[in-house]
Symmetry: C2
Subunit: 279 residues, 2 copies
Amino acid sequence: MKMANAVVYAISDSFEETAAAVAKAAAAQFPGNDIIIDRAHCVKDRMAIDIIIEATKHLNSLLIIDMLQKDLKDYLIHRAMENNIAYFDIMEQAVGTLSNIVNQKPNLVPEATYKLNEEYFDRMEAIDFAVKYDDCKDPRAIKKADLVLIGISRTSKTPLSIYLATKNIKVANIPLVPEVVPPRELFEIPRDRIFGLITSKQKLNTIRMERLKAHGLNDEANYASFERIDYELKYADQIMKDIGCVILNVADKAIEETASTILQILKEVNASEKIRLQF
Amino acid sequence: MKMANAVVYAISDSFEETAAAVAKAAAAQFPGNDIIIDRAHCVKDRMAIDIIIEATKHLNSLLIIDMLQKDLKDYLIHRAMENNIAYFDIMEQAVGTLSNIVNQKPNLVPEATYKLNEEYFDRMEAIDFAVKYDDCKDPRAIKKADLVLIGISRTSKTPLSIYLATKNIKVANIPLVPEVVPPRELFEIPRDRIFGLITSKQKLNTIRMERLKAHGLNDEANYASFERIDYELKYADQIMKDIGCVILNVADKAIEETASTILQILKEVNASEKIRLQF
């Protein structure tokens, strides 16, 4: 087994993922290396810090620090310097600069960002909505939703709905199946609230084959055939053109990327305060 | 209307949320100020940068930059300096230090972290699983799940399941209702895969009242009464003790915090590689 070249340790005194995100993004810039990413959330005492220092001091380590409790952070930095461990504080410069700009000392309370406020409950409601109305369980959802996703099976409607729900957007998703008439509500709402998802035949074939394998459904192999996929995609294309909605190709796109495109389009066509706030 | 004291602008050439997370966390340290947080994702050209500079140059602004495309970033920094706009590059120091540690130049490709790999498809499957088996739609899910959440109505089972799914964990959630016998599968799986969620009576009352209001269900007001809540919580407590599972109080906890606690416990009791990798 090859030894790891480096360890990047993301350390936070809250449950924030920011340090870990920086760690991952930085590590991704050095392909071919075996870089271990480890993380500690909610670091609340010196013992936790001592354990991290012990675990990293004999390795090629970089500590990425997202901590606001001053005493603890000072202790961590002191121990890192003592052991020649490289470190980087991701918040310090942003907080310091902002402190100058607003001419106020920072709070330095790690919990400051995690209030259970109205926005938080709205987000929970949006997630409940997406789950409850997944896969067109009730076409009345179409009129209640902030936006509606349509597409054939395995065009990532569900995960995209959920991801958008975490941005406080209520999403209904409607599967398009040639054998099933689409709900009439789809034709009764503004078309700029509807997004059609398509993808490549090759991608759909791969994803559907995987799914069949996972479910041991060899007898439904038609589901993954190129003929069936081609038939379904043509059917979906016709429905989407009839509606006149935006069509997005999700092949080779991450959910986050498609979501970002959708939110950008909504922001442009829709000056609604709600959508505006997601940015 | 009070004028905003400051604008924090999170700028990324990918669809990453890291710069926005730093912006939010920094702004949260200065309560009482009216700090606008704005963001631009997928900034791909100089025109997009010029628009940002125009929008911020006459304000008290801080640019938080998460960009890897060197030419574009250089242009942005040049324009920021020219207009005396404060800026902070969140990736530079992490990438630079790691470059020294692994003795290799960085790739500087923003897409480096967003491959549609196996982990990504697993995550999509986990989200599908959480949605499909939400609210005990099929008790067979209990045996297929990586972990099972139990609790009475409005203890955040669904959003927590979804959040854990985004960490590649397959979660089934089972509502506890005094009038319904819990599925026998709950007593047939290892108890360390089950987590019981409870919360405070006050919190439940508030959340359930909100829900009744949102659904116009005044005739079901018993749902939010303290007597009913007390009865349900005692029932749930008995079931959780019978099972012998970990019980977590989610009152005043954000979903991310409860999820972090669950993952930490699983990591300790379970050396499984899968759970390990979520950290």
